[in-house]
């Protein structure tokens, strides 16, 4: 069964999410998007159904965030929460359904970028971690690591410095170059801290596209089964599956027993007693 980082959203069932969740993380200009496009084609060729998603692509909040950013119109707490809204909308409406349907989900950034950005903007790390405690633990987090000095030429010779990627809302003064350096340095330092806590698999993002792609392929092959060379299950496989199912059943039972910590409200509430005030928020909730 899939795990979250501590809390489960109402109505979200964690069983039968058989797909794979693969996160590609890295700062602005690290080459995430290029690699994800390559990976998507490669995985589809191998016979996997792929969903690619990324920050601000939600139907609910994507447009709102883009508009607010154009106006340079977002406070720090507001920003952090707007991104969280976008994330949860995609988690509930894209990522989880795709995993349930057995897709490989490639996500361009995940909660780690959102956390790093918020922390660099002065948010309490414990606060932001608590918000994202409902995120699913991915099958792999691949971090494209790159230094500021390698980053700068990439940014200059592609789209140029962007207001938010240069942390103009964080650092004083009008010098975009200086601010870009300071902001990205702070972000990278935060990523390093997160990489330990969340077990990032690190890939050198400063290498050329082909080398990075080959590295990513190697790592991803360990996670996704080779759909094109599917073989008939052997007796040993069946036993292994059975063992896994038993373990899962036990884990599920244990979770039920500990359900007071999870407080999941089913989408359709159970029949309510006539006075209509009963609902399944547990007593433990109150006493905590």
């Amino acid at each position: 069964m899939r795990q979250t980082y501590g809390k489960t959203l109402p109505g979200m069932k964690l069983t039968d999410l058989s797909g794979k969740l693969i996160v590609v993380e890295g700062t602005d200009g690290a080459g995430r998007t290029t690699q994800i496009n390559l990976l998507k084609g490669w995985l589809e060729e191998r016979g996997h159904a792929v969903l690619d998603t990324g920050i601000t692509r939600s139907e609910l909040a994507g447009e709102g965030i883009r508009r607010a950013k154009e106006g340079n119109n977002l406070g720090r707490v507001t920003q952090s929460l707007f991104y969280a809204t976008d994330f949860v909308d995609r988690l509930e409406n894209e990522i989880v359904p795709a995993l349930r349907a057995g897709f490989v989900v490639l996500t361009d950034r995940y909660i780690y970028s959102l956390m790093a950005r918020a922390i660099v903007r002065g948010m309490d790390p414990a606060w932001i971690r608590s918000i994202y405690s409902m995120a699913l633990v991915p099958d792999a987090v691949i971090y494209l690591r790159i230094g500021v000095d390698e980053l700068i030429p990439r940014v200059i010779f592609s789209r140029g410095f962007d207001y938010w990627e240069s942390g103009m809302d964080v650092f004083p003064g009008q010098d975009m170059y200086e601010n870009f350096r300071s902001y990205q340095t702070a972000l990278l330092a935060e990523f390093e801290r997160l990489s330990v806590e969340y077990h990032f698999e690190i890939v050198d993002g400063s290498a050329d596209v082909k080398t990075v792609f080959a590295e990513l392929q190697k790592k991803i092959l360990r996670i996704v089964s080779d759909a094109s060379q599917e073989r008939a299950p052997s007796h040993a496989d069946e036993l292994a599956t059975l063992r896994m199912k038993t373990q899962e059943a036990w884990a599920a039972r244990l979770r039920e027993l500990r359900a007071s910590d999870l407080e999941v409200l089913p989408r359709k509430a159970p029949p309510t007693p006539p006075n209509g005030t009963e609902h399944p928020i547990t007593e433990a909730d109150r006493s905590a």
């Binding site: 959203l9 447009e63 929460l81 809204t85």
Partner: protein, 251 residues
Amino acid sequence: MNTGSNVRIGPFEIFRPVEESAERPQLNGGPPFPGKLFVVEGIDGSGKSTQLSLLHKWLESKGYGVVFSTWNSSAVVKDTTKLGKKKKMLTPATFSLIHATDFADRIERSILPLLKAGAVVLCDRYIYTAFARDVSRGMNSRWVRELYGFAVKPTVAFYFRVPLETAIGRLVAARDGFKFYEAGLDLGLSDDPTESFRLFQGRILREYERMIPEFGLTVIDATLPVEVQQAQVRQIAEIHLHRAKELRVRP
């Protein structure tokens, strides 16, 4: 020589001298600002908005610089909330988060600066509304409380307590029909909007009752005549305004 340091309190980094100062821009501290923050809470039909607007009139007549802030009114977030509600796209989690985003924008750009400037800020609904609604929708109560960890603790949070039937009686007389999320129709409690509203408000009422001791809400009996309630509200507000050192005068 120890000169103090920057400390993170909630999401804000503030300068903190060596001793614990009384100033904590956070839920659990008192408002560290010269301004005063009065908020009203209660279920729909409790009469809280009426009471707040009467308080507003009175404060203005006394010459205070008063600013009014309503729930769910941020210009930046408005369109997203509207979209979510119109298309019925909101889940309990995104409903919670989009309202927190809206509130954050109002805190950062309006409420906090106003309090720092010494204004009297009046809020029709505050974080307790979010706690009551979100938990009634099945969100984890600790998670929601953490989410709003950046909120400023109000000077006084008035809770207008009213029995469910009284409130519903007032509303049914005043309106024709309830909106989708307002009636909690997203929860599938009942297909009938009025019945769903009744069930949902019942849950919310229970959450409010739970929060009275938790947050020290000031309870006003909302079945009393309007004038009696208002006299109580003014009396309590006056005590706090009396203690205030430097409040803005109305220009």
